[in-house]
């Protein structure tokens, strides 16, 4: 067997052609009869066509069970007045009444505003901080690996454990932060009693948790930026700051877009931090819902008040809001991309 035909056959096989090529026939003299060969080639073709779908099917099967089914079931529940404390309400259909009620529910709008406010207050500083940390970690530093691992520690710490500490920092009486602020304020700040202060507190918790994670993503992207770019920039007299602004940031654009989208969706679904920051543990997000996010409101209506139908309606509305915001995100990103080209 000479080498050229063999190397010729391989690309043909890779391209998906399973039919016996003329160059291969001599090497396979004992080929079965035509009928069986047709059956085989059919099988082969099916395998080629179907196998990719088979490989991705686990995801879609799991998604159907844990994603699609709950989604549909939630939609069905959202049209009922189901309350487990009131027998017989499970099958009472109320049409779209839950959604109608939601649109006039001040508490829902309040939760939406809180979610967007906390989202902005946490996402923007978080990503800027992550960028700065990644930039610093990209330098040749002593104990670089340790530092890089270190920024991930907040991320692997359980939110509940971190909340214990933050609750003490932001406590009204005997709180660490109020103690530190003593020289600058008269009286104490009741962090949970005002929107601005509770938003800051919750945002700090979120930022603390996610900054390291984003920093590592940025760092990984920074390491793919060719060193020569910096070298030639330095030769042209660009300082560190200009290098960062004109080389690092543009190179990171796709990564930044990715983190912005992921953080935005995460911010819309914020739950654990405000849930744990409410030390009265009644899911109200502060006595006047100062930091009650949409998911926390959903949780309160569903679990505490037993309004399964209404809770489901909130869940679906939030889903739609998330899709809309993700779509807007996507459009902006496409704009940036095309502007780039």
């Amino acid at each position: 067997m000479s080498s050229p035909p063999a190397s010729e056959a391989r690309p043909g096989h890779l391209a998906g052609g399973s039919g016996p090529g003329p160059s291969r026939r001599p090497s396979r003299p004992s080929r079965p009869t035509t009928a069986s060969s047709g059956w085989r080639s059919w099988l082969h073709r099916i395998e080629h066509r179907a196998s990719p779908y088979l490989y991705v099917s686990p995801f879609f099967l799991l998604f159907a069970v844990f994603g699609l089914f709950p989604l549909i079931y939630t939609a069905i529940i959202s049209t009922t007045a189901w309350n487990p404390r009131r027998p017989g309400t499970q099958d009472v259909s109320v049409g779209l009444d839950n959604y109608k009620a939601l649109f006039t529910d001040d508490n829902f709008y309040n939760a939406l505003i809180n979610t967007l406010g906390i989202g902005l207050l946490s996402t923007v500083p978080q990503l800027l901080l992550a960028l700065a940390i990644a930039h610093l970690l990209n330098y040749r530093l002593r104990g670089r690996l340790l530092l890089r691992m270190g920024v991930l520690v907040p991320y692997i710490t359980s939110v509940a454990a971190a909340a214990l500490i933050f609750n003490q920092i932001f406590a009204r009486d005997y709180g660490l932060l109020n103690w530190a602020l003593q020289p600058f304020t008269d009286g104490v700040v009741d962090w949970r009693a005002e929107s601005w202060s509770s938003w800051i507190a919750v945002s700090v918790m979120v930022t603390w948790h996610w900054t390291g994670y984003n920093a590592l993503i940025y760092l990984a992207a920074m390491q793919t930026v060719p060193y020569e770019l910096y070298e030639s920039a330095a030769m042209d007299g660009a300082g560190k700051w200009r290098q960062f602004w004109h080389i690092t940031v543009p190179s990171l654009r796709p990564t930044i877009i990715f983190t912005v989208i992921v953080s935005t969706i995460g911010a819309l679904q914020l739950f654990a931090e405000p849930f744990l920051f409410d030390s009265s543990r009644n899911n109200n997000g502060g006595a006047e819902r100062e930091f009650q996010t949409v998911v926390l409101y959903l949780y309160q209506q569903f679990w505490v008040n037993g309004r399964y139908g209404y809770g489901a309606a909130i869940a679906w509305t939030l889903f739609i809001v998330t899709v809309i915001i993700a779509a807007i995100n996507f459009l902006i990103v496409r704009r940036i991309r095309s502007a780039e080209d």
């Binding site: 487990p84 404390r85 529910d105 406590a171 949970r192 654990a272 009265s280 543990r281 679990w303 505490v304």
Partner: protein
């Protein structure tokens, strides 16, 4: 990770981490009990069986003392009891979720009195104790009724304790403010709630920052503890907005808050726990079960507390029931344990070790209860104070959303403590109640 609702609740674990760990433990042991149960031949008598019991606080044990369970395991060889604790809100929410799902509940589930009305509408999900040879005449009709369906055909819970009311106060803080410390003399300071709050106003004027009480929600609940109808009337109609008693309790509490008497510590929060240790308030509305809470919370204040009669002389707040969900695999064994745990002897033991006051009237006269004094509370005769507050206490009417409504009021009063105008807070509370019950 779950949550809570305060007004009518009982102690719950303070640390979130502990709660989380308990939740995990609950999940793990729930699986364990399933397999243990099935291998134990479906709850037949005598076989080895593991019974799980879900509680929301010091219902039958203290964090370091499970002697009651040990005693049962000793007298019932082959039986193992696993207790899972979670905080008040999480406990009741999880129970509802598991009842709806049809699996996952423990063999025994404790339900608090303010919550049980929410479960009475689902009698098929619980063992009916009428069919289980329980002597219901050991309790008053009112106590049994609260855990029974309207037609009286099913009783889903066995009563454990009952929350007779008193005021617990700090003798050292009283002395520092020039107030009497003797419990007889202290009781004379507040024949009524009005007197109690007037006294508070005088107290905070010279107390150097120490507040009169811990949280407005507790005063509100205390005042309503002497009312028969609060949020619902006898026919089950929601009367919260039109009930003058509710509005009066609200106004009195709001008045006390605006005159600076409240330490504004969200009930059962970590800040509230710290408040005990730091002596941030001089008095607290004190149902019998609160004794256990104070001792667990601020052991170092032993001897500085005393107990005086509740303003108005009577009242009730709290208490619990043990239920057996029908989805369990060891129903017979669970019923047997439930009956044993709620028997008078055990309730008396719990009173002496934890403070939970027995629901059986027959025990109140026994020397074990009547002669009990609490060293932590300066040897206050708890065994006499609490039954006295219950003698004239009305039997309170509760409805399916009583727990939710109580929670809304607590939150609203908390917002007043944070500076919200009281009329705005009241209106918001009414809106929330309408939404929750509508």
């Amino acid at each position: 990770m779950r949550s809570a609702e305060p007004l009518t609740r009982r102690p719950f674990t303070a640390l979130i981490a502990v709660a989380a760990a308990a939740g995990l433990a609950a999940a793990l042991t729930a699986c364990g009990s399933d397999s243990g149960g099935s291998s134990g031949s479906g709850g037949s008598q005598g076989g080895p069986v593991t019974l799980t019991i879900n509680v929301f606080g010091d219902n039958f044990s203290l964090p370091k003392d499970r002697s009651l369970y040990d005693e049962y395991e000793k007298t019932h060889p082959g039986t193992k009891i696993v207790e899972n604790r979670s905080d008040f809100g999480a406990h009741h929410q999880n129970l509802q979720a598991r009842l709806t799902a049809g699996s996952g509940a423990a063999d025994l589930e404790v339900i608090e009195v303010g919550q049980i009305a929410g479960y009475i509408g689902q009698p098929d999900k619980f063992v009916n104790f009428h069919e289980r040879d329980v002597k219901t005449d050991q309790w008053t009709d009112a106590i049994v009724q609260r855990a029974s369906t309207a037609d009286g055909k099913a009783q889903i819970g066995l009563p454990t304790d009952i929350g007779g009311l008193a005021i617990c106060y700090r003798t050292d803080l009283f002395a520092a403010a020039g107030l009497p410390t003797d419990r007889e003399a202290v009781a004379k300071l507040w024949p009524t709630w009005k007197d109690y709050l007037a006294q508070g106003e005088q107290y905070v004027a010279k107390s150097n920052g120490v507040k009169w009480f811990d949280a407005g929600g507790h005063v509100f609940t205390g005042i309503l503890g002497n009312e028969e109808q609060t949020f619902y009337d006898r026919e089950g109609k929601l009367i919260v907005e039109s009930n003058p008693a509710v509005r009066a309790a609200w106004d009195a509490t709001v008045g006390a808050i605006t005159s600076g008497q409240s330490a504004a510590l969200a009930e059962f929060s970590p800040e509230w726990n710290t408040g005990f240790q730091q002596g941030q308030f001089a008095t607290i509305t004190c149902p019998a079960w609160m004794m256990g809470y104070i001792q667990g919370n601020a052991a170092e204040t032993s001897g500085k507390w005393d107990i005086a009669t509740i303003p108005g002389g009577s009242g009730n707040w709290g208490g619990s029931y043990v239920t057996v969900p029908t989805q369990g695999k060891n129903i017979d064994a669970a019923v047997e344990l439930a009956k044993w745990l709620t028997a008078p002897e055990q309730n008396v033991k719990l009173f002496k070790t934890i403070g939970n006051f027995p629901s059986q009237r027959s025990t109140w006269e026994t020397p074990d209860v009547a002669d009990f004094v609490s060293p932590f509370f300066n040897n206050a005769p708890a065994g006499k104070i609490f039954p006295k507050s219950l003698e004239n206490a009305p039997s309170q009417v509760a409805g399916p959303e009583s727990g939710v409504i109580g929670n809304i009021f607590t939150t609203a009063l908390n917002s007043v403590e944070q500076g919200t105008d009281s009329n705005t807070a009241w209106q918001k509370a009414m809106d929330d109640i309408k939404a929750a019950t509508g």
